[in-house]
């Protein structure tokens, strides 16, 4: 029997070794696998190469991992933000490497890794600093830059629901990097609000088929904000079961 469910966040990340390349889903707070990142912080793996759109916000999650000195290199599109002070300090002190990648190239390089594409030509960044030293080609009247895939040893992502086969459905803009990172990593770990019985997810609504997912961790969204529930209820389910949490109300709308 296939059962990818795992009991705890600590167990989910326990085999991530020093020096691993780890993708982390999320754009801002949406889709950020906070508990898995916290477990990685606790686990203590170091010299990590982390792939994320940003380089940490505030003092928690990825920012805390960087602050603890566990990250050797960041691959991201937008490190500098109002609340990226931990990364900023480390970077300016020369303690952390940075590879800035245009956001669409970041996404496509991750996608290419999962899809087995060896490299691709993209017009993005042609003639800019970020294409310096890269191979270029003129194709059908346009200039392109050769970009290589970004693979990872592990991906930590967040979705709304899963079943024991690892099929995933997401919620709103929290989907962001989840599907492509799951495919690009040797081991993809998803934290979800809810692991439902096999057969309960509508196959038409599955966004990430379980083939890409290795471990699922159920973490009910704790103490969802009242406004969150109000918003999802308005969106279609009409559920008044506020105590059931946002995951349940949103799930009915799928």
């Amino acid at each position: 029997m296939v059962n990818k469910q795992i009991g705890s966040a600590a167990e989910a990340v326990a085999d991530i070794p020093d020096g691993a390349t780890v993708m982390m889903g999320g754009f801002g707070r949406a889709g950020q696998p906070v508990e898995l990142i916290d477990a990685l912080l606790e686990h203590g793996a170091k010299d990590l190469v982390v792939v994320n759109n940003n380089a940490g916000n505030g003092t928690t999650g990825l920012a805390a991992l960087i602050g603890a000195g566990q990250v050797r290199k960041m691959i991201c599109s937008f490190p500098r933000q109002k609340d990226s002070q931990i990364f900023d300090e480390r970077y300016l002190a020369g303690d952390i490497e940075l590879e800035v990648v245009p956001q669409g190239n970041l996404a496509e390089r991750i996608r290419a890794a999962g899809a087995g594409v060896g490299a691709f030509f993209t017009p993005t960044g042609y003639g800019t600093m970020l294409a310096e030293g890269k191979e270029t080609r003129h194709i059908d009247g346009r200039d392109y830059v050769l970009e290589y895939p970004i693979k990872a040893d592990f991906a930590l992502i967040k979705a709304l629901k899963s079943d024991r086969w690892g099929n995933l459905v997401y919620r709103k803009t929290a989907r962001n990097f989840g599907p492509i990172m799951a495919a690009a990593a040797t081991t993809a770990i998803a934290q979800v609000d809810d692991v439902v019985p096999l057969g309960e997810l509508d196959p038409e609504a599955v966004i990430t088929p379980g083939i890409y997912v290795d471990r699922v961790l159920e973490l009910p969204r704790n103490a969802p904000a009242a406004d969150n529930i109000a918003a999802t209820a308005t969106a279609g389910s009409g559920s008044t079961a506020a105590t059931a949490g946002s995951a349940a109300t949103a799930g009915k709308a799928l």
Binding site: K172, A225, D227
Partner: protein, 215 residues
């Protein structure tokens, strides 16, 4: 008289036709979302994975899973759809987005754009989706003040900051005038400031073509 930020946004928003698919960059361009003409259906794309994005969420509508590229909570109107990041940028790169509006540090008279990095040694570069939008959208518009706080004109013969895209900007909406770049030539379409073309050209220090429509 110069236009305020909101007035530039309003002037810009008036130029989107019915049915246009538009990506508004983070920061100043996002203001245009507040001035979309009500008699037209304009579909907003946000790079983090949504088409048909709604207005900013009110206090009681905030949902942490529903945000725009600037990480501001937004709403989900009828017709909206969600997709992952690679699809979102395929929409740009693949030429499916009609208009994008970006902020700018500098725009050259031939339409080069610099808007992501000052190039200073201690600056932390952050590009986000700017380069993808600059090469991908069918029409690239820039919204910015015409002069820096130090009085330097931001439309220049050649950008001195690191480039975001080459020969890509089609229109520049500023507080003082509206410009169009066609075939590598800069043309003034409207002047908002209290000056004529000659005075504007003198202040900017670049060659301007007259595209003014007689009032």
């Amino acid at each position: 008289m110069k236009l305020s930020r909101n007035e530039i946004a309003e002037r810009l928003a008036a130029d989107f036709p019915d049915g246009a698919i538009v990506n508004l960059g983070i920061g100043l361009p996002t203001l245009a979302a507040d001035y979309l003409p009500e008699d037209r259906e304009i579909i907003l794309h946000t790079e983090n994975g949504m088409l048909g994005m709604g207005r900013a969420a009110a206090e009681d509508e905030i949902d942490e899973d529903l945000i725009n590229a600037g990480k501001i909570p937004v709403t989900e109107p009828a017709g909206a759809s969600y997709f992952h990041h690679a699809d979102s940028f395929a929409m740009m790169r693949g030429g499916h987005i009609d208009y994008c509006v970006l902020g700018g540090y500098q725009v050259s008279v031939t339409g080069d754009l610099a808007n992501w990095h000052t190039g200073a040694a201690d600056a932390i570069p952050a590009v986000g989706g700017a380069m993808d939008l600059a090469i991908g959208a069918k029409h690239v518009y820039v919204m910015m003040n015409l002069f820096t706080k130090n009085g330097d004109c931001k439309i220049v013969e050649q950008c001195t900051y690191p480039l975001t895209g080459i020969g890509t900007v089609e229109r520049v909406y500023t507080d003082m005038a509206l410009f169009e770049i066609v075939d590598g030539q800069l043309r003034v379409l409207e002047i908002f400031a209290d000056m004529d073309l000659a005075a504007l050209q003198e202040a900017m220090g670049v060659q301007l073509l007259d595209g003014l429509v007689a009032a």
